[in-house]
Every structure is written in C-alpha cells, then in structure tokens.
C-alpha cells in the first residue's frame, strides 16, 4: 500500500459533490467511484446490477414501513436471511469498496465509504454542502425539472434517504461535522474552486 490514499466524499443532493469528486480525481490522476461501484459489486457477486440499483443508498426501515411489514423479515426470523436483503447487498458493495481502497489510491462518493474504510491508515473524509438556492438550480438542470418546488422536494427526499442509509449502516450521523475531516460549502468557492481547495488539502495531508 505504502503511499496509497483514499478520499471519501459525502454530499448533499445538488451540492455538486459528484462533479467535485470527478474534478479532484482528474487533477490527482486517480480513479473515481460513484455509480461504478454498483457494476463492480454486481460482477463480484454474480447478481444483476438492477438488484443493487434498487437498493442503492436506501435504508430499508422506517417505523411505518416496518409496521406494514413491507420492508421487514416478516414471515420468520432467525435462521435464514433473504438473499436480496439490502443488508447483504451492502456487505457485498462494502467488500468491493474495501478491496479497491486498500489496493490503490482512489476517490469514493457516498455509500458509507468513510465508515467502511474507517481503519484505512490514509483516508480523508469530506462532506460537501451548498446553499439551498444553488442546490435547487443544479438539481433542476441535472434532473431536467421545471419547477423549484419539485427540485426542493427531490432534494429533501434524497437527503433524507441518504441520511437514513448512512445512519442505519454506520451508527453515526450523516452530515455532522464530527463524522468528517473537512466539511465545505461549495457555494463559497464554486465547483472548480472547491475542487482546487480540496486538492491542496489532500496534497498537504498526504505528501
């Protein structure tokens, strides 16, 4: 491993986290993993990609969902586990993340990578937020939405989902400062500026 390092990026919906990660990866000339993890996890397990897509960054349990039994181990408990359970998919995906993280320098976006790689000796964990207006604008462009309300809805829904997923699998709090090494608002310096700033941060840490 030696000089390898990993950068794990958590991000609010619409904060430009993915773009920043991509830029950073280009500048540092290391690979970048976001949705690509799904393909890799599918290949590793022999399961279809759609199985992972359905479970991607979703936590299964809400009190009401559990009440309706739509999301739980309803019929019996204990000795066996449904093989399409999100928990298993999480395990497979996290094995892929671990394998990649220990094999080479790379950047991960989302999917609890900071938690999965918490024992990695050279890891930096970032969280990227942005002003709400900037996020709405970005979401409207990315998802081709016409109204601000729809964009706000989507943002709220996605953030809730990501927080649920993160908190469920890590027992930590998504988006709170103590979970990360650096929390940054991308509205201040813009996408490019933020990527440059982080690049400096990463270089200073790992050189």
């Amino acid at each position: 491993m030696g000089t390898n390092f990993v950068v794990n990026i958590g991000r609010q919906q619409g904060s430009g986290g993915r773009q920043i990660g991509q830029l950073l990866a280009d500048q540092l000339a290391i690979p970048f993993y976001d949705k690509e993890l799904i393909t890799l996890a599918a290949k590793q397990s022999g399961l279809q990609e759609e199985v992972f897509e359905r479970a991607d960054e979703k936590s299964r349990y809400t009190l009401t969902g559990g009440l309706l039994g739509l999301k739980g181990p309803a019929l019996d408990m204990g000795f066996s586990r449904n093989y399409l359970w999100n928990e298993l998919l999480f395990k497979i995906q996290s094995d892929v993340i671990r394998e990649l993280g220990y094999e080479k320098s790379c950047i991960f976006v989302g999917r609890c990578a900071d938690y999965i790689l918490r024992d990695h000796p050279r890891a930096l964990n970032l969280f990227i937020s942005a002003d709400l207006n900037d996020r709405i604008e970005r979401v409207m462009v990315n998802y081709k939405l016409t109204s601000k309300e729809k964009a706000t809805d989507l943002i709220e829904r996605m953030d809730k989902r990501r927080a649920g997923y993160y908190n469920y699998y890590t027992n930590k709090k998504w988006g709170t400062a103590e979970s990360y090494h650096l929390c940054i608002n991308s509205s201040v310096l813009g996408i490019k500026g933020t990527a440059n700033f982080i690049e400096g941060f990463v270089k200073q840490k790992f050189q």
Partner: protein, 460 residues
C-alpha cells in the same frame, strides 16, 4: 444461512445439495422446539389431567404474545448485529448486544407486570372457564415470573445465530429441550407439583442455558462480549431495531388473535375439553408445519440469490424441490392424522371424551394438509425473491381475510365441527390464492427465462 460476501456457490452448487445444507439446521431446531411442546403437553396430560390440557391451551395466546414481544427486539437487534459484524465493527456490535439486553429486560418486565395484574380477565378472554382457569393461572404465574429470563434466553440465542455461531444456538435449543425432558417428569410425577411443575421445568431449563449463554458472551477474548457501558440505550439502535422487529411482531400478534378466537369458539360450542382437544391438535399440527418452516428457511437464500442472478432455471428447480418435500411432509401428516388419530390423541391423555374430541379435530384439521405445504412454500418463495408485499398479503389474508370470518360464521352453523372446518376451509382458499399468484408470476417468469436463453446463446 448467514451473510457471506462470496455467495456464488448458491449459483453453482447442485440445488438439492444446497437445500439440504441450508435447511437441515433450521429443521433440526424447529423439530426440537416441536418436541419440547409435545412432551410438555404429554406430561401435563398424563400427570395432571385432561382439564389441565385445556388450561394449557388457554395459555397459548399469551405465550404467543410474549414471543411476539421477544421478536420485536430479537429480529431487529440480530439483523443490526450481523450488519455491524459484517463490517468488523465490534464496538457498535457490542453496543447493539448491550442495548438488546436492556430492551429485553424492559419489555419482558413490563409484559410480566401487566399480565400479572390482569391475569384472570386475560385468561377468561382467552377462553378459560371457572374449571380451567386455575390450571392456566398456575402455569402462567410461573411462566410470567420467568418471563424476563425467557426473553433474554431467546434474545441471546438470536444473537448467537447472527454472530456466526448457529451451532451454539442450536446446542442451546436442544439443551433446553433435554433439560425440560428430564425435569418435567421429576416435577410432575416426582414432586407432584401439577401443571406448575411443567412451567418450572421450562423456566429452569432456560435459566441454565441463559447462564451458559452469558458465560459465552462474557468471554473478553470473543469478538463481541458484554460490557457494562453498552447497556445504556441509544436512540438510533432502539428505533432501528424496533422498526425491523415490527413486522414479525405483528405477524405473531395476529396468530395470537386467531388462537384466541379459536379457543373462544371451542369453549362456546364444545366446552372445556374441546379447548384441550385443540391443544392436542395444535401440538401435532405444529410438528409438521415447523418442518416446512425449516425447509422454507433453507430455500430462501437459494431462491433469492439465483433470482437476483437471473438463473431462473435454478429458481424454478429449488421451488419445485421444496414444494415436493413440503407437500410430502404435510401429506405424511394428513395420512397419519387420518389413519391413526387414536394413537396420536392417546399419546396425550387417557380421557375417553378428550380422545374422541381430538380424533375428530385431527381428522378435520388435517384435511387440507396435502395442499398446505404448497401454500406455505409459495408465500415464502415470494418473500425470498424480494416480493415481500405478496408474501405478506398471502399470510395475512390466510389468517385475517379467510380464517377469521370462517371462525366467526361456521361455528354458528355447525357447532364444534364448524370451528374445526374453518381451518381447512381457510387453507383451501389461501392455497387457491397461492396458485393464482404463482401462475401469474410464472407467466412473467417464463418470458424472462426465454429472453435470458436468447441472450446467452448469442455469444456462443
């Protein structure tokens, strides 16, 4: 059986071989628990009397409810535990273990206190009469005293399974059965403790194994072990665990409700001994049903994985094999219940009237057994492949949509036989529902399979 990140053997190994490997431990554990229930009833029936069996049957719903509260904590914390262990996050895993213990104590204690205060009204509501109430009360008082122990014992057993020690959990299960088997005759025949003796045997067997479990979990060199600081409840763990446990809790609560309605109807139409007869029929039915449950649990990972990997041929194969085996088991039950009902019933009692009532009940209730295996496997199949909605619908509709109305109407028309016939009638309707849902599913399935074949042939 447990999370493994290299599940590809599920897509390659022979299906029949896999099924045996995955189902056998479950079947053994399930059978052990059936045997425990059956022997309990046998000792009470012969050692205490026919009416004591009725008293025992009245406690079934209350025991179900206690188990429901157990699964509320157990299912969730076990799931959370295996997630954390999968990440080698032993600190969080320990927190979950500690929290689960605290939750079990809190819930077990509240359940005991509330049930103690309202014990008589509850038992009357569950189908007791002045004659049978003392038996039910005697039994329940001891069980409720030990309720916290029961909760802890089952909770820790679930933890053993999800922490990758299923063999330890199985040992504990079998050990409680054996201890119970030794203590029961000693207390009932030796000490003349009556029905209380049987309850003490249950509680003591669990105390012994709980001590054993605690010893295992106190070993500081183990990956997870009990630590004082982990007992303080954490909001995130509690809400996650309870949310997961909610649906098994509700399923158990529904079965509790159904048993209450059955007991009440039998008391109305056939008197105290009819309730006892249900106790006998229920124990024997349980024996066959639990084997199918074990088979189902073995099928789940195999069907689930292969479905997710689009190996539909293997999905069909495992469904077929499981259905055949399950149908074999339940048909076996049907044959036995109809050919030798006397032999079954007189295992439990010498009382002529109770034997006759049980024989009649056995004959009718087992009528649907040749098809019930199919129904159960189908519901489980839908769950395995992620169509949880259909699975829930199938099991809830069987109980609430079909069985409940039958139980409310039939007894008014045909008396005690109406109660018995409600069960095969509901099974028949729900098997038809299962057949419809499965056929519907297979149409889509076949289409997909053909597409798969086409895709696969191209590169070759």
């Amino acid at each position: 059986m447990k999370f493994t990140s290299n599940p590809t053997e599920l897509g390659q190994e022979k299906v029949g071989k896999l099924l045996v490997r995955y189902a056998l431990p479950s079947i053994i554990a399930m059978t052990a628990s059936s045997i425990y229930h059956i022997t309990d009833s046998i000792f009470i029936g012969h050692g205490v009397g026919a009416l004591a069996l009725s008293g025992l049957a009245i406690t079934f719903p209350l025991m179900n409810l206690a188990a429901a509260f157990g699964s509320l904590v157990g299912a969730g914390s076990a799931t959370l535990l295996s997630i954390r262990l999968g990440q080698k996050d032993y600190e969080s895993a320990n927190a979950i273990l500690g929290n689960a213990l605290t939750l079990n104590v809190l819930i077990g204690l509240s359940f005991s206190i509330l049930s103690f205060i309202f014990l008589d009204p509850i038992l009357y509501f569950f189908g007791a009469s002045e004659v049978t109430l003392p038996y039910a009360r005697d039994f329940m008082e001891v069980i409720l005293l030990g309720n916290v122990i029961t909760h802890l014992y089952f909770g820790l057993n679930a933890m053993l399974r999800s922490s990758g020690r299923p063999e330890k959990s199985m040992f504990a299960t079998v050990a409680t059965v054996v201890i119970n088997l030794i203590l029961n005759p000693l207390f009932i025949f030796g000490f003349q403790w009556g029905i209380k003796g049987s309850a003490w045997a249950t509680v003591i067997s669990q105390v012994v194994m709980l001590v054993w479990q605690l010893k295992f979990f106190s070993n500081k060199s183990g990956f997870i072990h009990l630590q004082r600081k982990t007992f303080k409840l954490q909001k995130q763990i509690v809400t996650d665990a309870l949310s997961i446990g909610m649906s098994p809790f509700l399923m158990n609560a529904v079965s509790c409700l159904i048993v209450i309605v059955i007991n009440q109807a039998l008391l109305r139409t056939g008197g105290d001994l009819a309730v006892g007869a249900y106790g006998i029929v229920n124990r024997i039915a349980y024996l066959f049903i639990m084997v199918v449950v074990g088979l189902n649990q073995g099928m789940q990972p195999i069907a689930g994985y292969n479905f997710g990997a689009r190996l539909y041929k293997r999905v069909n194969e495992v469904l077929k094999i499981t259905t055949i085996l399950a149908t074999g088991v339940t048909t076996f039950g049907f044959l036995f219940a109809n050919l030798f009902p006397e032999a079954f019933a007189s295992m439990f009692t010498n009382d002529r009237e109770l034997i006759e009532l049980s024989v009649n009940g056995l004959r009718i209730v087992f009528l649907s057994y040749p098809i019930i295996g199919f129904q159960m496997v189908t519901a489980n199949f839908f769950q395995s492949i992620g169509m949880v909605g259909k699975a829930i619908f199938m099991s809830l509709s069987r109980q609430l949509l079909f069985l409940l109305p039958c139980l409310l109407i039939f007894p008014r028309l045909w008396g005690i036989n109406g109660v018995w016939f409600s069960m095969p009638a509901a099974d028949l309707i729900s098997s038809i529902v299962a057949a419809v849902l499965l056929t519907q599913h297979f149409r889509q399935f076949k289409r997909k399979e053909l597409e798969e074949e086409n895709v696969r042939q191209e590169p070759r």
